[in-house]
Symmetry: C2
Subunit: 176 residues, 2 copies
DNA sequence: GTAATTGCAAAGGATTTGCAACAGT
DNA sequence: ACTGTTGCAAATCCTTTGCAATTAC
């Protein structure tokens, strides 16, 4: 039941995200071949508003009937990140996640549910100021920052999920 | 020249960090054996004000003349984190770093040099407020947050180091 | 046609796990 | 004595890399 005829195993160029043009343009500017694999991988990212792992991307490609090697996905992500069209995240899960930068605030932060891994974005412009202030105080030349808040999302709370043990340990408070 | 007689290959109990008592106490409370390996590994962390990787810890153990398996270090770090005496960090380097929590502000943030990996700590209490505010707005139940600022430390700037390409890409700005 | 990409499988690095020998209580 | 730990090696997970076949230009 995993393999059966799909309407359009190879998606038509016209059905790809309009943002694909930006990626094609970037590739041409660098003299890099615009391959079908690169287009489809980029399209998966461009069509998702989530923070996808390489495994997620693979799964969506499979759903589309595409069979693209994992190495190609990794190599394409590298180019996409370098192009500035996609951002790489490491939420401490042991693997990376990717997010396109269209329709987002140019700088934003993340709320990460430690139970269901859902990621919600928010923006607090004062972080930018704070970064510059702190950097100045320490003679630091800042390039980027990351603010992440971990906890339980509303859905998980509604389902009665309680906190993991994280932070709930009882540190020994006085010397024995 | 790596192997020669060391004064005290096995450190005496009395020379261990006074904080070791806290760890012993934690272990006893749980009915876990207080082993020499656990004590020495904990002592390495307790005696360093840096953010150590498992490899760093191994190196320091070697310097002390201790020969402790990597698996034991990993297993001990797990207990130390659970005890609340040590905090685990993931600065996106592909491995974890550990820091003890004595003599630190209970909550603090990090400045990370992308060139020499030096970590500087700072504290901005307003982050706490911000976390709670943002969480409230999104129906989130926060447990912890992380604010990290990446860039070049003063030393590296003084040595004439310039930024990596990170953030210096030129995203295609208009549709082709 | 030529140069770069693809896909596979092997390599790599960090971390984990299985298991027999061993240490702590 | 009994239970849990240690250390080694093998296994696992994510990611990178080498190389012959293939594709873009």
């Amino acid at each position: 039941m995993t393999e059966f005829a799909r309407p359009a195993p190879v998606p038509m160029r016209d059905e790809l995200s309009p943002f694909i043009h930006l990626f094609r343009r970037y590739l041409r500017q660098r003299g890099l071949p615009v391959t079908q694999q690169r287009e489809v991988v980029a399209d998966v990212i461009f069509n998702s508003s989530e923070h996808l792992s390489v495994e997620d991307i693979e799964a969506r490609l499979r759903t589309r009937g595409e069979r693209i090697g994992k190495a190609t996905i990794y190599r394409t992500m590298e180019i996409l990140v370098r192009s500035g069209l996609v951002e790489e995240h490491d939420f401490g899960e042991g693997f990376k996640r990717y997010e396109h930068l269209f329709g987002h605030q140019p700088v934003h932060q993340h709320l990460i549910c430690t139970h269901c891994s859902k990621v919600t974005e928010f923006q607090r412009p004062e972080i930018e100021r704070l970064q510059d202030e702190v950097a100045l105080q320490h003679g630091f030349l800042p390039t980027r920052h990351r603010l992440e808040i971990y906890g339980l999302c509303g859905d998980c709370q509604a389902q009665g999920v309680t906190h993991d043990y994280k932070g709930l340990t009882c540190p020994a408070l006085d010397v024995a």
